[in-house]
């Protein structure tokens, strides 16, 4: 049980430097902060939360109430950032004039190196538009949108998460749950789409049966011949779109 709790802590604290900084700041406040109110909020409360968090009974109780994978959210109850900032401010408060500015800058640099700049995260990219999704999604959705009705589409899986954020009139045959794995149900259409030797006949039959109006495939993954009951309709930014010849998309 402790192992699981510590693995939660480990995945939360990254390199662990900020956690060490926080614990040092907490110890500093425990020794030097004399104000009862500040001690109560910035020393006792974090300590109580840490004890509760480390208690195996809490983990078991939390697991019964919610998903154990979100146990890290209990750490949100600790005001980590205000505690570090307050302790650092107290540390520099005795310095005067230029020294003070120098110490503040020095501590800020330490914080800078102990954390990581959010904008250097691998998932952070330059926005292509105000909707914060790849332009290709916007182009495909705009091309497939029909005023006043919904259409159903098979999309490449990496684009599924964006489509219905941008245009809820475009429904998907299968969505983001397959990227998450744990929530997904078996799906014959998806299986036929991701099969190594994709069969256009099988894909066409499955897609028609599911009422799919359009099938979108990635550049370089076009069908040798269009799926059964589908015809090549458009190519947008390299993505080929096949249209159902049996279902109409009129209002």
């Amino acid at each position: 049980m402790f192992g699981t709790i510590f693995s939660v802590i480990k995945s939360y604290m990254g390199t662990g430097i900020i956690t060490v900084v926080f614990l040092l700041c907490l110890a500093y406040l425990a020794f030097f902060e004399k104000d009862r109110v500040k001690r109560c909020v910035f020393v006792y409360m974090p300590l109580v939360v840490i004890v509760i968090f480390l208690c195996p009974a809490t983990y078991v109780f939390y697991g019964k109430m919610s998903e154990a994978v979100t146990y890290y959210r209990l750490i949100w109850l600790i005001p980590v950032t205000p505690v570090i900032a307050y302790a650092c401010t107290l540390m520099v408060s005795n310095a005067k004039g230029a020294w003070r500015n120098l110490v503040v800058a020095g501590l800020a640099v330490c914080i800078l190196f102990s954390g990581r700049l959010m904008y250097r995260d691998v998932n952070m990219v330059r926005a292509e538009n105000l909707d914060h999704m790849p332009d290709v999604v916007v182009d495909i959705c705009d091309a497939l949108h029909v005023d006043g009705r919904e259409v159903r589409v098979v999309m490449p899986e990496e684009l599924t998460q964006f489509v219905r954020q941008y245009d809820p009139c475009i429904c998907l045959a299968y969505g983001r749950e397959y990227l998450m794995g744990i929530y997904a149900q078996p799906d014959d259409l998806r299986d036929s789409m991701i099969a190594e030797n994709r069969d256009p006949h099988e894909v066409g039959l499955q897609a028609v049966w599911r009422g799919v109006h359009y099938i979108v495939v990635r550049p370089g993954e076009e069908f040798d011949e269009p799926p059964l009951y589908y015809e090549e309709y458009l190519v947008i930014d390299g993505f080929t779109i096949y249209k159902n010849t049996l279902l109409d998309t009129d209002v």
Binding site: S114, R164, Y166
Partner: protein, 352 residues
């Protein structure tokens, strides 16, 4: 679009500030323009969230259309807003005049640096994108709400009829997003990714500004340094994907981001205010206890477990206060006032 942006500013800044002004004046925690502005903003947003939550959960359970729920919320909000404005004018007329006439205090060098970092974070929230899979549920649920004028009837991932809506419907933060989008005319995805994040950043920073007031009083220099450290810690808070700072800067359109970076710190700030006032006067303004109740509702709006987390931190604060002062009255009242928000997680367990 320009009109939409103006309405966004009104809804995300002006409305909360006007709503929370009466609370900020009544708590008497600070008399400077910046303090009152930060407090009004934070308390006003809490009140807005707290009214939104029961109205929308009730509407969802009653199968109301989204537009009907929105109308209900606006009527109720209109009444509350009018009452708060009347109270503010009648009770604090002189004070408002004095505050409006007072000059904005010259900020310390480090406060200017902190403001610069906040400005950079706000700009980056528009020009940088973070692709998070969870948006496929939350943002799409909001978009579907407007599109079909219904709430949680369709699976956001695909658009098929929903099979089990109960996991999310007791924390309808996506409907808040839908409301902003509907009232401004800005598409949900643009609202979620480009126009909501900066107000969340401002809210999170405003809460820490309240902390700075409680910690350092009128000492501008220390407050400036504190705020600078805070903003640096937020900007460099990506040491893992679970931190409140990561949620704030990367996924601020999700309810859990609002919970981690705004609501829970606001609960701690309220507890701080209660203990501070008790230490000074041996009694506590009942408005603080009411705000403690409302912030629990706001937490429940953000996440199904939000109410439980709010109550947990209040109980922790109550325990620490009890051990420090050996008096039961206010720790007990804090615990009691925090409890009503547990109604929503309770509903969740009843339905699932």
């Amino acid at each position: 679009m320009l009109l939409g942006i103006l309405i966004t500013i009104c809804l995300e800044i002006l409305l909360p500030v006007i709503t929370g002004a009466a609370v900020a004046f009544s708590l008497n925690d600070g008399r400077s323009k910046s303090d009152l502005l930060a407090m009004s903003y934070v308390y006003g947003q809490i009140i807005l969230f707290a009214i939104f939550q029961p109205v929308f959960v009730f509407s969802i359970l009653k199968d109301f259309k989204f537009s009907k729920a929105l109308a209900l919320f606006m009527i109720l909000m209109g009444i509350v807003l009018a009452a708060l404005v009347v109270i503010c004018i009648l009770k604090y007329k002189k004070l408002i005049g004095t505050v409006l006439k007072s000059k904005i205090e010259k900020p310390d060098f480090w406060m200017i640096a902190a403001l610069a970092v906040v400005g950079i974070m706000m700009v980056m929230s528009v020009v940088m994108a973070y692709y998070d899979g969870d948006d496929a549920y939350y943002v799409a649920a909001a978009a579907e709400g407007i599109n079909s004028d219904s709430m949680y009837k369709k699976e956001p991932y695909t658009g098929y009829a929903i099979t089990s809506p109960y996991r999310y419907l007791f924390a309808p933060f996506p409907m808040w997003l839908a409301m902003l989008s509907k009232l401004t005319g800005i598409r949900v995805s643009a609202m979620a990714h480009s126009f909501l994040p900066w107000s969340m950043i401002l809210l999170a920073v405003s809460v820490t500004y309240i902390f700075s007031r409680y910690l350092f009083g009128d000492d501008k220099k220390k407050r400036g340094v504190f705020m600078f450290f805070i903003t640096i810690l937020i900007a460099f808070g990506d040491y893992s994907i679970h931190t409140p700072e990561n949620f704030l800067l990367a996924r601020s359109r999700q309810g859990k981001a609002a919970l981690a970076s705004f609501i829970l710190p606001a609960v701690v700030a309220l507890i701080f205010g209660i203990i501070k006032e008790y230490e000074a006067k041996k009694k506590v303004n009942p408005v603080r206890l009411i705000m403690l109740m409302l912030v629990g509702f706001a937490g429940a709006l953000c996440s199904t477990l939000g109410g439980v987390l709010c109550v947990s931190i209040v109980l922790t604060g109550s325990l620490c206060m009890l051990l420090t002062y050996r008096k039961i009255k206010y720790p007990f009242l804090m615990a009691v006032f925090s409890m009503p928000c547990l109604f929503f997680p309770l509903l969740y367990f009843v339905y699932t």
